[in-house]
Amino acid sequence: MDALHSLALGFQVASSPLNLFYCLIGVSLGTLIGILPGVGPLLTIAMLIPLTFGMPPESSVIMLAGIYYGASYGGSTAAILVNLPGEPSSVVTCIDGHQMARQGRGGVALAIAAIGSFVAGSIGTALIVLCAPILQQWVINFSPADYASLIFMALIATATLVQGSVLNGIGMALLGVLIGLVGMDPMTGASRFTFGSLDLMEGIDFVVVAIGVFAVAEIVQTLDEKESRPGEVAATGSIWPSLADLKASCLPILRGTGIGALFGVLPGTGPTISSIAAYFFERRIARDPSRFGHGAIEGVAAAESANNAAAQTGFIPTMTMGIPGSATMAMLLGALMMNGVNPGPNMIAQRPELFWGLIASMWIGNLMLLILNLPLIGMWVKILRVPYRWLFPAILVFSALGLYSLNLRAFDLYLMLGFGVGGYLLARLRCEPVPFIIGIILGPMLEEHFRRAMVISQGDPSVFVTSWLSLLFLVLSVLIVLLMTPRKRLRAEAAAA
C-alpha cells in the first residue's frame, strides 16, 4: 500500500506539464544519439549538465535519465538496420535483428524491439517499486569471485553457442580477450601491448571495433553478395509483427526482462551481461537453435527486453545506494549532487518526490518512446528500400564521422579499418565476429574480477567454488560446453552450411 502511495506521488510529479516536456526532450534526444555511432548518452549528458543547473532537480534528472534509456532504444535501431551496435548491450541484437532486416522483416524486428523494451521497461519500473531492497542486498552480496564466474560463463556461452565451429568460436573469444587487454593495466598501471603508443594506452574503444567488424565488414559482404544475387533487401509482407510473431516473442520478452532486471543491477558488468545472457539463454532452450543467427525473432525480443530492463533496474544501485553502475550513471549522480541532492540510502526518505518522480517518469518515458518509435518504423523501413549502392556510402560516412567525433583523431579511423578488414577476412574463414567483440568487452572485466578475487582470498583459488553463486555459474559453464557435444555440433554445422 505504501509503495502504491509513493508511486502516486511520483506520477503526480512526473506528469506535470513541465516535467512531461523535459521527459519528451530527453527521450527524443536519447533516441537520436542512440542511432548515431560514437555519440553516446555519456557525452550528451555531460554537455547538457551545465544547462540543468537552473532547473528543478526533478526536471533535470528526468530529462537526463530520458537520454539514458532513450539511447538504448535508438541503439537497437542502428543495430537492426545497418548491423551497427552503438553500445555493448546491443551486440547480440545485431545477430538476429539485422538478419531479419535483410529478409525484409526489419519493421517486424524494430516493432518487437520497441514492444519488448516497453514491456521490460514497465516491469522494470514495477520491480524497482517492489523489490529495490532485495536487489540492493543482491548487489552487496555479489563478490568478485561471483563476478568472475558470471563473466566466464557469458564468455563460454558466446564462444560455443554461435554459428560455426566451437573451436573457432573459442579462438575468436580468446583473441578478443587479448585485444581487450591492450592498454593500461587497471590494477598496476603498467602499459600492455601498446608498443609505446600513447593512443593505445587508453585501450581500444569498443565502438572502434564494433564499427569495424560489424558495419564495415557487413558492407563489404553485402556488396559482394550483390554481385551473385542481385536485387535489394527482400521487400515482403507487413512491417508490423503478425500474431504468430507476437506469440513467439511473448515468453522471450518475459524471460529477457527477468534476466535483464536481475543482472542489470550489478554495477559495471550488469548492462552488458544481461543482454548476452538473455540471448544465449533463449538460444539454449529453443526447440530449434539452428534458426538463431538467421533471423529468429526470439533473439531480438529477449536481447532488447533484457537491455531495457537492465537500464531500468540499473537505477537501483545508483539512486538508493549511491553506487553508480556505469560511467553514464556516475554522470547522473554527479548532476544530482551538484544540485544539492545526495543519492544514497537516505534519498528515498529525504526526497521522495524526486525518487518516485524519476521512477514514474521512466514509465511515462517508455510509453513516449513506444509512441515515438512505432510511427518511425515506417520511415526506417523506407530507408532500407533505398538502393544499397546509395545507402552504404551514407552508412560509411555516418560511421566514420561518429567515430571521429569521439576523440577527434585519425588513429581511431585507421584502427577501425584494420578491424574491419581483419574481421571481414576472418569471417570469410568462418570465424564469427560476435565472440571476438564480446571477448573484447568481457576480457578486461574477467581479468579484473579474477585478480581481485584472488587478492581478497589471499591467493586461495577455492573461493570460486565456496561461494554458491560462483559455483552455480561455473557448473552452468561446464554444462554449456558438455551439452554442445561434437556430434550435435557437426550436424548443426552441416545444416547451416
Binding site: M201, G322, M338, N342
Partner: protein, 319 residues
C-alpha cells in the same frame, strides 16, 4: 578592381591589430578547457562550474574538452604541448600533477616546469574508513589489528591519489596492508560494505552516504573535513607529516603572458567567491580554496615533493 596597395595596407593593419588586441582584449574567441578525464565524476563536473564562471566573466565560451585516457596522462600531455596563447587551458589535479609523473614513465611532463599555474580551485579531503563489521573504532586499534594480522588486512582504492594516501598510511604507521585496486571508488563500495575488503581510502563525501555501513577512522587532510567534523585528522592523532588531499585547479601551457594569467585568475577568484558556487562545490564534497598564481605554483611543487617521498619510501618503481 581593388587597388593592390590598399588591400596590402588593410592586411597589414589587421595583422597589426590582431597582434595588439591579443593581450588587451583576451579572450577574443572561444577557449578550450581540457579535462584529462572522461565525462563523469565529480571533478569533471566541478570543472564545468569553473568554465561557466569564465564564460560569464570574460564573454567568450570556455568549452570543456574531455581528453580521457591513461589516468589523465594523455590530456595532460596535450595541455603541456598546446600553444601558450590563453586559448587552451588545462584542468590540473592531484592525480595528473602530483601522482602520475612519479608512477608512470609515459607521463613525460614536469608539473612544475611545463605549465603556467593560474589558480587553485578546491581541495577534497580523504578519509580512511573501515567496514562496519571490523572491530576497530580508533586509529590505534586499527594499527594494532593490522600488526596482528601481519599484512592480511585489505584496503580498497579507486584512484591513484587514494592509493598514494594508502601507501603513506602504511609508511607512517609502520604497517603492511594488501592493496585491492578498483577502477572507480563506487565499484569498491559493495566489497567494503559487505566486509569482503576491510578498509577503503576515499573522498570524505563518498563515505557520507554510507555511514553505518562503513566507519571513517581518520581524515588525511590538514584540517577536518567539513562533511565529517567528528572524524579526527592524522595530524591531530600524532602524524604531522601525513597530509594527502585531492585538489584541482586551472593551469595553462608554460609561457602564458602574465596579463592573461592575471585576467584568468581574477575572473576565477571572483567566480569562486559567489555563494551559489561555493554551495555547488560543497555539495560535491569540494572545499573551495582560491589562490594567487604564485601560491598555486608553490603548492604544486610541494605536492610533488610529498608524493615523491612516499613513492620512494614505498619502493614503487615508475612503470
Amino acid at each position: 578592381m581593388f587597388p593592390r596597395h590598399l588591400v596590402l595596407a588593410t592586411l597589414a593593419a589587421s595583422a597589426f591589430l590582431i597582434g595588439a588586441v591579443h593581450a588587451a582584449d583576451y579572450p577574443s574567441r572561444p577557449v578550450q578547457y581540457i579535462v584529462p578525464f572522461g565525462a563523469g565524476g565529480a571533478a569533471e563536473l566541478a570543472s564545468r562550474v569553473v568554465t561557466e564562471g569564465f564564460t560569464e566573466a570574460l564573454g567568450q565560451p570556455f568549452v570543456v574538452e574531455n581528453r580521457p585516457g591513461a589516468n589523465g596522462i594523455i590530456g595532460t600531455v596535450q595541455g603541456a604541448k598546446a600553444a601558450p596563447d590563453g586559448y587552451t587551458l588545462l584542468q590540473a589535479n592531484g592525480a595528473t600533477f602530483s601522482v602520475n609523473p612519479l608512477l608512470y614513465k609515459a607521463a613525460t611532463y614536469d608539473p612544475a616546469k611545463d605549465f603556467t599555474p593560474i589558480g587553485l580551485v578546491a581541495r577534497q579531503p580523504y578519509v580512511i574508513a573501515v567496514s562496519a563489521g571490523l572491530p576497530v573504532h580508533t586509529l590505534d586499534e586499527l594499527i594494532a589489528l593490522a600488526k596482528e594480522k601481519g599484512g592480511r588486512l585489505t584496503y580498497a582504492t579507486g584512484s591513484t591519489s587514494h592509493q598514494l594516501a594508502g601507501e603513506l598510511f602504511q609508511k607512517e604507521a609502520g604497517i603492511k596492508l594488501t592493496h585491492v585496486p578498483y577502477n572507480a571508488t563506487n565499484l569498491a563500495l559493495p566489497d567494503v560494505i559487505s566486509g569482503r575488503v576491510d578498509l577503503i581510502v576515499t573522498a570524505a563525501y563518498t563515505a557520507v552516504p554510507h555511514l553505518g555501513k562503513i566507519r571513517p577512522i581518520a581524515a588525511t587532510s590538514a584540517e577536518r573535513a567539513k562533511l565529517l567534523p567528528d572524524v579526527p585528522t592524522f595530524k591531530e592523532l600524532g602524524y604531522p607529516n601525513f597530509v594527502v588531499e585531492g585538489w584541482f585547479g586551472v593551469s595553462a601551457p608554460a609561457g602564458l603572458p602574465p596579463e592573461v594569467v592575471k585576467t584568468l585568475n581574477t575572473a576565477l577568484n571572483k567566480h569562486l567567491a559567489q555563494a551559489k558556487v561555493r554551495e555547488a562545490f560543497d555539495n560535491a564534497g569540494f572545499e573551495v580554496t582560491p589562490s594567487t598564481p604564485e601560491e598555486f605554483g608553490s603548492f604544486i611543487k610541494q605536492e610533488l615533493e610529498t608524493g615523491r617521498n612516499v613513492v620512494q619510501a614505498a619502493g614503487i618503481e615508475p612503470r
